[in-house]
């Protein structure tokens, strides 16, 4: 299982989510974040912005779903200009559904 974190343009959030839905991935967590990339923010006339608003999407998927998920995010988020964002994939040891999962074995009980 993998955790995918995608940092995308706020205005691309809906296209990304739609294309994830098309790939069969509905569950997600999203949050508003501020950040900057290699360009160290943007310069608009005299004012510079070094923290640009982004949306971070978090999804956890089976290994086999990682490629479809990344492709879906890519296709929804790409404009071809600087600031399209990043996708990070990291390993997940275990996942529990609070409503239904078995409790993990207790380490203290004999």
């Amino acid at each position: 299982m993998k955790l995918i974190r995608a940092i995308v343009r706020p205005e691309r959030e809906e296209p990304v989510i739609r294309s994830l839905e098309t790939a069969g991935i509905v569950s997600l967590t999203k949050m508003d974040v501020l950040g900057r990339g290699q360009q160290r923010g943007i310069q608009v006339g005299p004012s510079s912005y070094d923290e640009i608003p982004k949306v971070q999407l978090m999804i956890v998927v089976e290994d086999s779903q990682v490629d479809p998920a990344v492709r879906a995010i890519e296709s929804g988020a790409r404009t071809g200009r600087h600031g399209d964002g990043k996708i990070f994939v990291s390993p997940v040891d275990a996942a529990y559904t609070i409503r239904t999962s078995e409790l993990p074995p207790s380490t203290t009980s004999a």
């Binding site: 509905v26 999203k30 990291s90 997940v92 275990a94 999962s101």
Partner: protein, 174 residues
């Protein structure tokens, strides 16, 4: 692979995922030098906002006082809330959730996950998820302590007295 060795030695291999372990030799060893044995894990829970206070109190009983939490929006496999009689405007696509992260030593993971599940299970859809992730390094910025030492009480800490009681009392509220 001979042609890659020079680049690798300078720690400049960044794109080749297959070689990432050797891309920065010694970094992980440096992280873990103070304790080679202690694996660290991050436990991330996405829960109902209304259960957060009870969860915090329950987890504190395990002597896990440190956490990071934030308000997020999310949805599970149900895809939000759908009201069958109502028009499309009445559907709620994303629900407010609390996302909490604890970084703990590996032996504490199972008790922590148990506590989170016990404090959050209502049996209704929307109870949330718990994820367990590996952590490669940790550093307490104030003291420079690394790895599991960064998670344990600092060497110069005064013993913590009485701070748990407030949260415990909140749990008993209806």
């Amino acid at each position: 692979m001979r042609h890659g060795e020079g680049i690798e030695a300078r720690g400049m291999v960044r794109r080749d995922v297959g070689q990432r372990r050797s891309a920065a030799p010694g970094i992980l060893a440096m992280w873990n030098e103070s304790d080679g044995h202690g694996a660290m894990k991050e436990v991330i829970a996405v829960i109902r906002p209304s259960r957060w206070t009870a969860t915090k109190a329950r987890v504190q009983r395990l002597d896990i006082p440190a956490f990071t939490q934030q308000r997020v929006l999310g949805r599970g496999s149900e895809g939000g809330l759908w009201c069958e009689q109502a028009s499309d405007e009445a559907t709620v696509r994303y629900l407010p959730k609390r996302m909490v992260s604890w970084v703990v030593e590996a032996p504490l993971v199972n008790p922590l996950v148990q506590a989170i599940i016990e404090a959050n299970r209502t049996g209704q859809p929307g109870d949330g998820k718990v994820f367990v992730l590996p952590i490669d390094g940790a550093l307490r910025v104030r003291t420079g302590e690394r790895a599991v030492d960064a998670l344990r009480p600092a060497g110069d800490d005064e013993p913590v007295v009485g701070t748990m009681r407030e949260d415990d009392s909140q749990e008993t509220r209806p």
